[in-house]
Amino acid sequence: MGFEVETLKFEGPLDLMLHLIHEQQLDIFDLDMAVLTDQYINYLHTMEELHLEVESEYLVELATLIEYKSKKLLPKKEDEADDDLEDPKDKLVRRLLEYQKYKEVTKTLYDSFVERQDQLAKPVSFDEIVKLSNEEDNKIEGDPYDLLKAMNKVLRRLQLSRPLDIKFTQKELSPEDRILEIKARLRDLPDTFSFDTLIEDCDNIHEYVITFIAILDMAKDHYLTFTIDDNDNIWFSRGTNHD
């Protein structure tokens, strides 16, 4: 047997089985479980030989295949009442077909997804002052994933606001320095202020990110508390640790 490197990437055991069925030209409606199992094991061996990690999900399905194979080898008693249980082979075929359906439909969905990206909208226009007065009495703690979402929005706005401005600069600014800068500015800021206010003095993405890391640290140390509104804007107010 020649040396063969398979570089195909599979989305999981079901994806791999569909590939093997196709490759071996098996009839999915009259599935030859023995061939499928052998090929499946072969593939896992190849992966191991290539020192690729075999994810546990592949082993789970392998167990199902082998269980089926072993059951077939054992003599079956006539009166064994397993009629109410779905035949594991039928179950596997059903799962494969079901998975194949969704895999198939993603192609159409992806086309729409790509198409939609050629059509753009402008960011919302709103008055920050009005927003601020509405938000003030409404402090809630967000979770880190909300913060991540909000930060994405900030970065997108940065991208939109300076599309034609290309600069190459290198500035060193550590989060620690940035925290000192922010603390110095805190007393001049209103009780509640937005992330946008905080980054007014930043002009590149590096400083945005450093500022973001800085406020994460400050939130952790209770210098600041943050809240995120429905429009994914980040608002801050002084925390319990502020003097």
């Binding site: 969704y102 969905l109 997804f113 939609r116 909208a121």
Partner: protein, 219 residues
């Protein structure tokens, strides 16, 4: 203001006249009340203005209806009129209502020029795993993590968290099943990203049966 000519430079009478004309025009433009801009008299124009302001966030039918104090049906008609108006080839933007959120977006034909203007932009992508997970949720929602995993045969935990962070899915309460697992459903953002007005517009899932040629199954 336009810079004055350099001192000492000779100006012909004709040039001087043109210079004055231009100055005249500029001062008129700067001081005039722009009375040629008529204020809108119908709701259609007001809604159009609102849609301009809300931008990519868009506005829901219910929101617009309550703001302009009209019934949902009336508002729908207003929106449809605006949509038809902008669908004409004389406009560069169009009105869409994916997931019942209405917003103006640029027409497809504008995109190549936008690329020219902004330089090549990086497009968002979705992995095959993300697409499969989204497809399963969209067709079967509300659905639990375990059900998704059963269908795809792989763990879905990390993927669900990524999709939540991208605002493509959200939690939709809890299932009555043992352990009361969290249910997931797709968001308006998903509808917008995949150009869907309602979930009924999702393409039909292919049906495989024994009678069919097996080749169809794999194209």
């Amino acid at each position: 203001m336009i810079e004055e000519f350099e001192i000492g430079q000779e100006m012909s009478e004709e040039d001087k006249q043109r210079w004055h004309d231009v100055q005249d025009m500029i001062s008129r433009v700067e001081t005039e009340d722009h009375e040629d801009v008529a204020q809108p008299t119908n709701m259609e124009a007001i809604v159009e203005g609102l849609l301009y302001i809300v931008g990519e966030d868009g506005a829901k039918l219910e929101q617009l209806a309550s703001v302009i104090d009209r019934s949902l049906e009336d508002t729908k008609i207003i929106l449809e009129n605006i949509r038809t108006k902008y669908a004409a080839e004389t406009f560069g933007i169009e009105l869409v209502g994916y997931g019942s959120v209405y917003k103006f977006i640029s027409k497809k034909a504008v995109f190549p020029y936008a690329q020219e203007l902004f330089g090549a932009s990086k497009q968002n992508t979705l992995s095959q795993a993300a697409l499969e997970t989204l497809a399963i949720i969209a067709y079967k929602q509300p659905i639990t993590r375990v059900e998704i995993e059963e269908l795809r045969g792989v763990s879905a935990e990390v993927m669900l968290r990524k999709l939540l962070a991208r605002n493509l899915i959200r939690e939709a309460g809890r299932s009555e099943a043992v352990g009361r697992p969290i249910l997931y459903e797709v968001t308006e953002e998903f509808m917008d990203s995949f150009k869907l007005y309602t979930l009924n517009e999702l393409p039909d899932l292919p049906e495989y049966s024994k009678d069919e040629e097996n080749d169809n199954l794999f194209e």
